[in-house]
Amino acid sequence: MAEVHVIGQILGATGFSESSLFCKWGIHTGAAWKLLSGVREGQTQVDTPQVGDMAYWSHPIDLHFATKGLQGWPRLHLQVWSQDSFGRCQLAGYGFCHVPSSPGTHQLDCPTWRPLGSWREQLARAFVGGGPQLLHGDAIYSGADRYRLHTAAGGTVHLELGLLLRHFDRYGVEC
């Protein structure tokens, strides 16, 4: 019966080699969690930085959860995509981070990665765009043995999340 408000924004991203970026995001929770209001997933606009290399999205996130347990604490999963000059989109990175568990404002940096693929695919990516993508997106936030995956590092997504917790103390969770 505890409640969690997640209020914040996806500020932007830095460190990507691509320039025009947008981000698809979603929040994944365990079975004990119930979304009372808010949108669970979304997509930002495409931002092309003019000054500096940070792409600013300032995409609002506003969710209200009710939970009956701590398991499956909400986690944010992100997909950063880049749009090239032809308007084509390609994957620039996957990332995931847990929503912080302490109340207050949090600055989060979520590093990203993307599958590398075979050398052929890398070559193709370099010249004609596109790139290998995960067939099953849940590998982004699940701990399935990813060690088989070869990945390259993407940039970092910056988030600013404010958290309000309610009634956790009632169930012995001190925060």
Binding site: G69, R88, G117, A144, R146
Partner: protein, 1638 residues
């Protein structure tokens, strides 16, 4: 070479000479300056160098300092040198280091140190060369000498100023340098050096080098120093040289007597050095080096303990880490030695203790205790990623091309990628009938023959008999071999066993071979037999139908060899059989013997028993009981008969003869060919010709059904004479899901008649490995159970027939055949098979790598499958003793033994339950959460909740009541509100349709275009700019008002009270006027005379009776207008006369439902604006005439005259409504008439007088103006032809270009959300027969009646039912079922009725008031056009000024659309002749002919008669409810009902219905007067279509009848419902108030 450098040299040399006589004292300052200078200028430009030098040179004093100055330019490059590699010579120099000289040099050095120190202190700041090179190198370096390097060094110098030794060396260098240019001056040092080097370094290279360059010595020395920094070891060696050199330097210093002070400070010390020996010695003292020898085991174990090896004892020991033996030894030694030492202070008790302490590290086996090897035997990351199959499904990646982002209505994360397209290729190559009704008898035989022959071929190809024979042979050989003991040196036992095995196998094989051979033979025989039958048949019928021909080829055989082989075979068999029999015999004999023995024993026992029995029968009577117990006496065994060889031989031979080719008999090879000729038609009997023709007429095609849906079909191919059909078509099925079924349907077409389904063929879904190109053609058989009897030679199907003449031996064949096909998965462009993923399918092959990890091997889900787990455990050879595996092993043990309880469920989130804060139920019970969730789901009841209480206790339970009730009632049809069940059902249905449509469009509504989000000011182009400029120059004309657009307000920032409805009532025409009362009953006593009457009449006459007599003295009417909206009422002032002019603006507040001002909510406002016109009547109620002088006592009454009803939605969408409307007056208005007014005004306005009825001019708008919601831009899917859709778009674009304001409609959206071409809605449809029968001879009356019928169907705008979504068009039957619809539906139905009545009718799209864009119906009568308003049932002539239709956009007929391209669009001014292409642009034209579109309307409308009883019941209920309502509305007064009047009214209402409210007024009045003479009566009948109760109540309320508060008023209310077919109800309500005249 560098010329600059040389120049520098030369110059400096010059200075050297000049400086000789310069002052020495200034040297110090000059140095400092120099240093500073260097920092600035260093660019190493030669000129600067020169200048610098010259500058320095001025100040420098001669003496010994000039060599320094000389050396400087040389040393400078060296300073820059460090970047280059260190030179090699240093190594060589160490070679000539002289040890013996060390002592002497040291002494000298000591002596020189004090001097040098003082000298060098001053020189600290000077740049310190790190390394020197050979002169040639130096010169080269100057080329790329850069300042930064120099700078760094200068800074470094300062840091290093303390390091005396360095400075010292630098100094020495300088000194040497200074010396080198003048070699003859100081030969001693150099010679000594050379001498020494020569002596001790006899290497030829060195000897060459050394004498060559003097100054290189210095360089070398410096290098030595450089090395000193890096490697301290050669330091000592270097030193010797330096000492030597210093010696020279000392000499110089001494000679010149320079810098004594410095030498005092600086001390030159050698680097500390310890010789290796000493060091080793010391190390030995300090360090302990354990030995590398193996430690004997006894040392490691306690005394008298034998090493124990646990592994041998069966305990589990993990694999030890691999450590080299020597390392282990060292460790062991160390532990043994060191431990006591370290433990010494702690454990003084003695050596044994120490030893024990040391042994603690050793296990029982005498080895160091070690943890199991933690290193996995395989790398956890595969080295090569090429094994795609290793990647687990969820980690699979797929290369995706960068694709343009397609804007879709949903773009969700997680849902991820759209399912790929998969493809299934179905290759249908052909069809062969094995039986067909058209088969002649010969065909039947031929088919049989062909089948047999196929079988034969297949058998021959397999040749099983041969294979078995060979096997038999091989086995026999093997037996022979093993029987030969010489060749098989195995043990006797194994041989025997092998032989036995062989023998049993021989027996088996022989049996099989015999069977196969027999089969072969019978097959051959059958073939021959069938062929013979066929031949005889052909002969019999004297024609041939099939080209089949069987040829039996005889293969000669060598008779003798054959016979021999045959005999040998027989013999072998006999011998084997004999042997078998013998064995069997022996076995049986054994059995017999044992049995015999037993029997004998038993017999014996029996005999003894019998004896006993005889003795003691008396004593043991019980024995008798036992007697039968031994039971069946063992039968005396019969000895088996020995085998008879002759018999066996006989048997074998018989069998051989039967199943085998006789020896010498030629081998028969049948060959079937199609070489035969078919008898041509003209030689055949008639029946056969008929048959052949029948065959020709038949054709076959196949339908391909995927998941029971037809996806494609083959071409229709004629059936060949051989009953084979070749298709050769490949169908590529693009699929999304895993196929469930794949079926082919075989259809046969006979001639031009219909097709029949012959059979269904179920194709197997291919394995995932079967991909296109690899799939073999397969034949799938099918058969049909159809019964066909034919009247020709064809044998039919399912019908018995016979080959015999007498009809015996009947045969029944069913149509059957084979389809040869292949189904396979297509391969994508990159070689990936396009197979949909299937979770069950994932069982791929596993690599050996996976074996190590249970989860990766069988997957997480596998863990729950115990069998799998156990299997894996067995496969991977898990060590059961490994404690790591203990839980797993236990689990497996439990699972496999099946003893304990294994949960058969899978828990997704373990331990969730245990850690839950609260249970699910409690969570769901939380009212707050529920409210929050419902609000976010936008459930209508909770959509507009602004704030939700923080605590559960603050939320009332009743909040949910409505919602729960609604949920509960969703499927329960509530009859209370609706009274009529059908309408209740319809309302429910409508609600459901609405919900589903809304849900469907929800996403579409959230789909924004760029323009919705971004307001971008258009960049002004030149023309706009020009216009602006012109405007600036324009003259100011203040008297010319300019229209300013009102500001539109978006919905979100509105709240209650912000929006007002402005109703401007301008004027009215032809208001009914009061009738002079002529009747004597009505002749009032004074009190009943109306006040106004008097007032009005007074100017002309003073007596009311006069006014009644005088027709022209008009009784006036004092009308005022009352506008009621949302129960707010405003009214105008009272005006006089039948044509009043008010010109008043009324302001009514608007409240949106639930305070929600969003577009959707506003669109769904169902409220109407009622504009009622009343007559204000003043009654004088003064009781006493005497008081008249002193007071006026009147009562105001108002009489309803009529009303105009405008739905709010119309205002909302139109933004304003402006025009003259017809007032909806009741058909009977007692006490009022219009005729007079017509008479009175005829002269003035003839046009208006033509029309009947009253009119009111209004202007209605909203303040502020609201932005109406836009319709959905979404493109809907359509089943229309793509070309047609393109054409519609083009047509609409063209029309919009010419006349943007005219409505042009080509496609509409039907109720299921699909785009439909509009003409499909128009089709003649039968009106109810009842209506047609009403006026059989009067088509006009019939048309009117039909129009009335249509108008009686309630009007419900789409915008209300499907808020803001779009205009949905329902078909006429849907419309009639729903009994609700807007203008389009009414118009379509009316148009269809008119078409069916044989009229020329069109749907007319245009603008009308007050509806706005609407649909009317246009009909062409003999000479003129009529415009019908489908919602009211009224019709207007084309030139009727009061026609509400103001503009015409397009006409729609059942087969075409015409767009109005005339200049005007008012129906008054346009020509309706659609044949003129100049006036009407038609959609289908010569370039695009009408394709003959089928209608979406039903074939025929079916009308149920409405249940009269139900209507009567409804009537009563409505009456009751209305009466209650009226009483409710008069809470402060008593409401009396006049029953007599009510019953009178009730009788009168059906009359009104019959006459449609016309021409009954007078009769009615007369009757009423007759009956209710004493009453003053005011009332009127209301007429409405019936939809719901609410509008009725609203209508009654709006008349204001209840507002009369005269104390003795009585009311009368009657309701009449006239049922029309299809539950269309016409409702009449008569409301009246009666006041008794006293």
């Amino acid at each position: 070479m560098n010329p600059q450098e040389e120049k520098v040299k030369i110059i400096t040399e010059e200075f050297v000479e000049n400086d000789e006589d310069a002052d020495v004292g200034r040297q110090k300052t000059s140095r400092v300056q120099r240093r500073k200078r260097k920092k600035q200028l260093p660019t190493a430009g030669p000129d600067e160098m020169v200048s610098e030098k010259s500058h320095l040179g001025d100040q420098q004093e001669p003496g010994h300092e000039d060599p320094n100055a000389d050396a400087r330019p040389l040393s400078m490059p060296t300073r820059r040198g460090p970047r280059s590699l260190p030179p090699i010579p240093s190594a060589s120099r160490t070679g000539f280091a002289e040890f013996s000289m060390r002592e002497r040099m040291r002494e000298k050095l000591q002596a020189a140190r004090s001097k040098a120190e003082s000298a060098l202190l001053q020189e600290i700041p000077t740049p310190r060369p790190r390394r020197l090179r050979s002169p040639s190198e130096k010169e080269l370096e100057t080329e790329f000498g850069t300042e930064p390097g120099g700078k760094i060094q200068t800074t470094q110098q300062e840091d290093d100023s303390q390091s005396y030794s360095r400075v010292k060396f630098r100094d020495s260098v300088r000194k040497i340098k200074s010396k080198t240019p003048v070699p003859p001056g100081f030969p001693s040092a150099e010679e000594a050096y050379n001498f020494f080097t020569f002596n001790f370094d006899p290497e030829p290279e060195e000897s060459e080098e050394k004498p060559k360059a003097k100054n290189r010595d210095g360089a070398n020395q410096e290098e030595g120093e450089g090395e000193e920094e890096e490697a301290p070891v050669p330091e000592g060696i270097d030193k010797t040289d330096e000492e030597e050199l210093l010696d020279d330097k000392d000499a110089v210093d001494f000679l010149l007597g320079l810098d004594r002070g410095a030498e005092d400070i600086v001390a030159v010390r050698p680097a500390d050095y310890e010789s290796v020996h000493i060091r080793l010695q010391k190390e030995k003292e300090l360090l302990f080096i354990p030995s590398r020898r193996t430690v004997p085991t006894y040392k490691k174990l306690p005394e008298n303990v034998q090493p124990r090896f646990l592994e041998d004892e069966g305990l589990y020991i993990g694999a030890r880490l691999e450590v080299p033996r020597t390392n282990q030894n060292i460790m062991e030694n160390r532990l043994l030695m060191q431990e006591p030492v370290s433990a010494q202070p702690l454990l003084p008790s003695g050596a044994p203790e120490q030893l024990r302490e040391g042994r603690r590290w050793f296990g029982d086996d005498g080895r160091i205790l070690a943890l199991p090897n933690p290193i996995k035997p395989f790398p956890s990351r595969p080295l090569v990623l090429s094994q795609e199959q290793d990647i687990k499904a969820e980690l699979e990646t797929l290369y995706k091309k960068a694709v343009k982002y397609v804007h879709r209505s949903q773009h969700m994360i997680g849902s991820g990628d759209p399912p790929g397209n998969f493809q299934l290729d179905i290759d249908i190559s052909g069809l062969i009938f094995t039986h067909h009704p058209c088969f002649s008898r010969e065909h039947v035989l031929a088919a049989k023959l062909a089948q047999l022959y196929d079988q034969y071929l297949a058998r021959r190809q397999r040749n099983k008999a041969k294979f078995l024979t060979d096997k038999l042979q091989a086995l026999r050989n093997a037996v022979q071999m093993s029987l030969n003991p010489a060749k098989t040196p195995k043990s006797l036992d194994t041989t025997r066993r092998a032989i036995n095995e062989y023998k049993s196998e021989i027996r088996q094989t022989r049996k099989l071979r015999d069977i196969e051979q027999e089969k072969d033979r019978t097959l051959l025989k059958t073939i021959i037999k069938v062929w013979k039958e066929m031949k005889s048949l052909r002969e019999f019928q004297r024609f041939t139908n099939t080209p089949l021909k069987l040829v039996l080829r005889k293969e000669k055989v060598d008779q003798k060899a054959d016979e021999e082989a045959y005999e040998a075979e027989v013999q072998a068999e006999i011998s084997e059989l004999l042997e078998e029999h013998r064995e069997e015999y022996e076995q049986r004999m054994d059995e017999y013997r044992s049995a015999h023995q037993q029997w004998k024993a038993w017999k014996k026992a029996q005999r003894t028993k019998k004896k006993k029995k005889k003795q003691g029968v008396e004593e043991h009577p019980d024995d008798e009981m036992e007697e039968p117990y031994p039971g069946e006496d063992p039968v005396k065994p019969v000895p088996p008969e020995p085998t008879n060889q002759a018999v066996i031989e006989q048997e074998v031979r018989e069998r051989a003869a039967q199943s085998r080719r006789r020896p010498g008999e030629p081998m028969l090879v049948p060959e079937l060919s199609l070489a035969g000729s078919v008898t041509p038609n003209d030689q055949c009997p008639r029946v056969e010709v008929l048959r052949r023709e029948d065959v020709k007429r038949r054709s076959v095609y196949l339908k391909v059904l995927f998941n029971d849906k037809e996806v494609s079909r083959t071409n229709s191919r004629p059936l060949g004479a051989d009953f084979r059909v070749h298709f050769g078509q490949i169908f590529n099925l693009q699929i999304v899901n895993w196929p469930e079924s794949l079926t082919l349907q075989v259809y046969e077409t006979v001639g031009h008649s219909g097709t029949t389904l012959l059979a269904e063929v179920f194709l197997p879904i291919p394995e995932t490995t079967v991909v296109t190109g690899r799939a073999p053609l397969e034949e799938v058989e099918f058969s049909s159970n159809q019964h066909v009897t034919l009247d020709h030679e064809g044998v039919g199907s399912g019908v018995p027939f016979s080959f015999e003449a007498d009809g015996s031996n009947q045969l029944t064949l069913m149509t059957s055949g084979k389809v040869s096909n292949s189904v396979s998965w297509a391969i994508g462009e990159n070689g990936i098979p396009l197979i949909p993923p299937l979770s069950q399918q994932n069982i791929g092959f596993r690599s050996a790598l996976k074996r190590a990890d249970a989860i990766s091997s069988i997957g997480t889900s596998g863990l729950t499958d115990m069998k799998k787990l156990a299997k894996w455990a067995a496969e991977s050879k898990l060590d059961p003793n490994d404690p790591n595996n203990a839980p797993l092993m236990q689990l497996i043990l439990v699972a496999t033994s099946g003893e304990s309880y294994v949960p058969d469920f899978f828990r997704l989130e373990q331990l969730q339950q245990e850690f839950n804060f609260v249970s699910d139920e409690e969570l769901n019970r939380s009212k707050r959460f529920r409210l929050l969730r419902l609000r976010s789901q936008e459930v209508p009841e909770f959509r507009n909740y602004k704030q939700i209480p923080v605590y559960d206790r603050e939320i009332m339970e009743k909040v949910f009541q409505d919602y729960e009730k609604r949920l509960r009632d969703r499927n329960v049809i509530e009859t209370k509100d609706h009274i009529d069940t059908h309408r209740a059902i319809v309302a429910k249905y409508l609600q459901q349709v609405r919900e589903s449509v809304i849900n469907r469009f929800l996403i579409a509504k959230h789909h924004f275009l760029l323009a919705d989000l971004i307001v971008e000011e258009e960049v002004p182009n030149i023309s706009i700019l020009g216009l602006r400029l012109f405007k600036l120059a324009e003259q100011k004309r203040p008297l010319r008002p300019r229209r300013k657009g009102r500001k539109k307000v978006t919905a979100q920032n509105l709240s209650d009270g912000d929006i007002k409805l402005l109703v401007n009532i301008i004027r009215a025409y032809d208001i009914p006027v009061r009738k002079p009362i002529t009747s004597k009953f009505q002749q009032p006593p004074r009190s009943s005379r109306t006040f106004s009457e008097k007032q009005a009449a007074s100017p002309t006459t003073h007596s009311p009776t006069h006014s009644a007599d005088y027709p022209l003295s008009q009784v006036l009417v004092r009308p005022f207008v009352e506008v009621s909206f949302q129960r707010t009422i405003c009214h105008t002032t009272t005006a006089d006369g039948p044509n009043p002019s008010w010109n008043e603006e009324l302001e009514l507040p608007f409240r949106a439902p639930n305070g929600n001002y969003s577009t959707t909510s506003l669109q769904s406002v169902k409220d109407d604006v009622f504009i009622n016109i009343f007559d204000e009547v003043l009654y004088d109620v003064l009781e006493d005439d005497r008081e008249r002088a002193s007071g006026i006592h009147t009562r105001i009454e108002r009489h309803w005259l009529g009303c105009v009803k405008i739905p709010f939605s119309t205002i909302y969408f139109q933004a304003k409504i402006d025009g003259t409307f017809k007032i909806d007056t009741p058909p009977v208005l007692l006490g009022y008439s219009k005729e007079q007014s017509v008479v009175a005004e005829r002269g003035f306005d003839p046009v208006r007088s033509l029309s009947e009825g009253s009119y009111i001019t209004l202007f209605i708008t909203m303040e502020p103006q609201l932005v109406p919601g836009e319709s959905v831009r979404e493109k809907f899917d359509s089943q229309e032809d793509e070309k047609l859709l393109q054409a519609t778009e083009k047509f609409q674009a063209e029309c919009a270009l010419k006349f943007p304001n005219r409505q042009c409609l080509t496609t509409v959206i039907d109720i299921s959300g699909k785009t439909v071409f509009i003409t499909r809605y128009l089709k003649p449809l039968n009106p109810p027969q009842e209506l047609l029968n009403a006026y059989p001879n009067n088509p006009q009356a019939t048309a009117e009646l039909v129009a009335r019928y249509v108008s009686l169907i309630p009007f419900l705008p789409d915008t209300v039912s499907f808020a803001g979504i779009c205009d949905l068009w329902s078909t006429s039957d849907q419309f009639l079922d729903l009994l609700a619809g807007d203008e389009e539906e009414h118009a379509v139905l009316l148009c269809n009725y008119f078409l069916s009545l044989g009229k020329k009718a069109w749907l007319m799209m245009g603008n009308a008031i007050p509806e706005g864009p609407t649909a009317y119906v246009l009909t062409r009568e003999q000479s003129h056009y009529l415009i019908w308003n489908p919602c009211s049932g009224h019709f207007y002539g084309q030139f009727d000024t009061f026609c509400p239709l103001k503009s015409v956009g397009c006409l729609i007929g059942p087969d075409n659309i015409w767009f109005n391209i005339q200049r005007h669009d008012s129906p008054l001014r346009i020509n309706f002749d659609i044949t003129k292409p100049k006036l009407w642009k038609s959609f289908f034209s010569r370039s695009l002919p009408y394709p003959g579109l089928s209608s979406v309307q039903p074939e025929e409308l079916i009308y149920q008669r409405t249940d009269k009883a139900a209507a009567a019941e409804l009537q009563d209920r409505i009456e009751k409810i209305l009466k209650e309502k009226i009483m409710d509305w008069r809470p402060r007064h008593l409401t009396r009902w006049n029953r007599y009047c009510t019953s009178t009214l009730r009788h009168f209402l059906p009359l009104l219905e019959r006459s449609q409210g016309e021409d009954v007024e007078d009769d009615h009045r007369a009757e009423l007067l007759k009956q209710l003479g004493d009453y003053r009566f005011s009332g009127f009948p209301l007429h409405m279509p019936y939809s719901e109760l609410k509008p009725l109540i609203e209508a009654v309320y709006s008349t204001g009848v209840h507002n009369i508060d005269v104390p003795n008023v009585e009311f009368a209310l009657a309701v009449y419902i006239h049922p029309y077919p299809k539950n269309v109800l016409s409702v009449w309500i008569y409301v009246a108030s009666l006041i008794r005249n006293r």
